[in-house]
């Protein structure tokens, strides 16, 4: 018989800690339950498949996926530069990159407006070239990418730092060039973090509201994403708004689930626990 230390269970915590934890959990869970109770279940399917709802859902999926692709495209190099190089002002740059994470979305929208808007920093030049971004689906994608990018950068940079450079160093001494090291070692090692980062980015993009509203506008099929549709439906058809909100909640739950499922694979500590049948070399 083996004696194993019993894991510290809740009973050993001070009771009030458990009580506060329960209250905190209820605080998060109850609103979701409340929303589920408000959903007009018999009409749920018609409500979420109405023309405008379907258009919003489709647009949201399309733009969020595009925004996620942009996040991966730009976020991976950004995370690499932040994690693997050191230069003056790096800390400042990191803080700035993470800014959209803490910025009120409307403020982000205004910032984008002053950048890509018709009279914006870049927008005026783009406008002269005949490229108009405001009121287009592109504006939605930009808004979403803007707020979602930090999630990817943050999650990937952390993973890169955790994995460290030891494997990369081994790769280099084995004759691999920088690109080979990146492609065959670094990226596969942080792939789980990249996936969970991308999933989080997608979720953030899907939920983007403020920046889109401020910067992109709201037109069915072009710029009116699911959150904007919910916001608008609330005015006249609360049942539809609640049903659509619930879809967003379901997507969010699925996304969080996926992100958590992927995470443990990201544990890249060197294999220290050999399988039992292979105890001897």
């Amino acid at each position: 018989m083996r004696l194993e230390a019993a894991p510290l269970d809740a009973a050993r915590l001070p009771r009030w800690v458990v009580a506060v934890a329960v209250v905190g959990s209820l605080f998060v869970v109850l609103p979701v339950v409340a929303m589920a109770l408000r959903v007009d279940w018999p009409d749920f399917v018609p409500l979420v498949t109405s023309e405008s709802a379907a258009a919003a859902l489709l647009l949201s999926l399309r733009t969020s996926l595009t925004a996620t692709a942009l996040c991966v495209l730009f976020g991976v190099p950004m995370a690499l530069v932040l994690a693997r190089t050191s230069f003056r002002g790096q800390r400042l740059l990191r803080s700035l990159v993470l800014l959209p994470l803490v910025l009120p979305p409307v403020v982000g929208g205004l910032a984008l407006l002053y950048t890509f808007g018709r009279r914006g920093l870049l927008g005026s030049s783009l406008s002269a070239l005949g490229i108009e971004i405001a009121f287009t689906t592109t504006a939605v994608v930009l808004s979403q990418a803007f707020v979602a990018l930090p999630f990817l950068v943050l999650s990937l940079e952390g993973a890169l730092r955790t994995v460290g450079t030891r494997y990369e160093a081994v790769g280099a001494t084995l004759g691999a060039g920088r690109w080979t090291v990146l492609r065959r070692i670094t990226l596969p090692l942080v792939l789980p973090a990249l996936v969970s980062g991308a999933v989080l980015s997608f979720a953030r993009a899907l939920g983007e509201f403020g920046a889109t509203l401020t910067f992109a506008g709201s037109l069915q099929g072009t710029t009116r994403t699911l959150p904007l549709e919910v916001y608008l439906q609330r005015e006249t058809d609360p049942d539809a708004a609640v049903a659509l909100s619930f879809i967003l909640v379901l997507v969010a739950i699925a996304v969080v689930g996926v992100a958590h499922r992927v995470r443990p694979l990201g544990d890249l500590a060197p294999p220290r626990a050999p399988s039992r049948e292979a105890a001897r070399a």
Binding site: R166, Y167, A169, V170, G171, A172, T173, L174, G175, A176, G177, T180, R184, I185, P188, L189, L191, L268, P270, P271, P274, S275, A278, A279, R280, A281
Partner: protein, 347 residues
């Protein structure tokens, strides 16, 4: 010379120079922080010296001075590094790990796999080809790592304490494997175990505080150490003294008759294994035996023996003797050894 190396790294107080003959294996020994790993990372190209120059088979690895700065990228150095931990790429199978080097050097997939398989076979791990590192034991992983380092066909193989992370039951087999693959191969092995040096290396470099304190052929350095640190590594008692009319006279004042004819006044060193030193309560005056009175400073367990330190010497005795003789720190004992068990050589 296969390798010439001179490097200083100001911020780490590192200042080392040495040479390596083709096909020779050099063991680098020294305490923690002596600069052993620094030496390897400088050679591998993972660290740049503040000044220095290294050449491998006539090709410059680095050449850094006041007016020049050549640092060849790690991948172009022809130097493979085998670390304490196998560091196999966790997302690749054993075979893919070993094929990584050849693939990186432009060998096509099929040929690289063939090379990898032959190396896995060579290290006795062919049956592990399809396994991921997560399903390999420490010894298996190190075998694969050795195959991977060699499959890259390096001009110089660097080994950073390759056995220290292994189970004691596994280390001997890997040591034998290394002994086999290091024959006729230029290699540098960092180790803290003199046994590795004895079994694997032709010559030895002992570092301390970023400097070379001893170097030379393994047999010489590890049987006739000239520094106390070298003696410690070699597991020997080192007593320094002078050639006098009576023979060897230690700094502590005891005397050992000597047959050789070294001139009087020569500085001499005497080396004797702790296992050959006997301990008794009374002086042993048998002919051909040295006997030194000393107070016991310390007693420590070493495996199935007890090592006691007295008068600058160490002696390994059986635990039963410790009890029988009543050895405790502070007790006065006589240490003795036979003349033929000691080697005496000029410093």
């Amino acid at each position: 010379m296969s390798l010439t190396f001179t490097a200083t790294l100001a911020e780490r107080g590192f200042d080392v120079a040495f040479e390596l003959a083709p096909g020779e294996t050099l063991a680098v020994l020294g305490p923690n922080g002596a600069g052993k790993s620094t030496l390897l990372t400088l050679l591998a190209g993972l660290l740049a010296p503040s000044m220095g120059r290294a050449e491998l088979d006539g090709t410059v690895l680095f050449d850094v001075g006041a007016d020049r700065r050549t640092l060849v990228e790690p991948r172009h150095r022809g130097v493979s590094l085998l670390a304490q931990e196998a560091l196999l790429f966790p997302h690749l199978t054993a075979l893919e790990n070993v094929a990584f080097g050849p693939r990186s050097r432009g060998v096509d997939r099929t040929a690289a796999r063939a090379t990898a398989l032959s190396w896995l076979d060579r290290v006795g791990a062919a049956d592990l080809a399809g396994r991921r590192p997560g399903r390999l034991s420490g010894g298996q992983a190190q075998r694969v790592a050795i195959a991977r380092a060699l499959a890259a066909d390096p001009s110089l193989l660097l080994l950073d304490e390759p056995l220290s992370a292994l189970d004691v039951t596994v280390a001997p087999a890997i040591r034998t494997l290394l002994r086999d693959v290091l024959v006729d191969r230029s290699a540098i092995i960092v180790t803290h175990d003199p046994l590795d040096a004895f079994l694997l290396a032709d010559s030895v470099l002992i570092l301390d505080g970023g400097r070379v304190v001893e170097s030379g052929a393994t047999a010489v350095v590890l049987t006739r150490p000239v520094t106390s640190f070298g003696a410690h590594l070699a597991g020997l008692n080192l007593v320094t003294g002078l050639r006098t009319a009576e023979g060897f006279r230690s700094e502590e004042g005891w005397v050992l008759p000597l047959a050789d004819t070294a001139p009087e006044g020569t500085s001499l060193a005497l080396a004797v294994r702790p296992g050959r030193v006997t301990v008794s309560r009374s002086a042993v005056t048998a002919p051909g035996t040295a006997c030194i009175a000393a107070e016991v400073d310390d007693v420590e367990h070493r495996g199935d023996l007890v090592r006691l330190h007295a008068g600058g010497m160490a002696a390994d005795v059986a635990p039963s003797d410790v009890v029988a003789l009543g050895i405790v720190p502070g007790s006065r004992m006589f240490l003795g050894f036979r003349h033929e068990d000691a080697s005496i050589y000029p410093l």
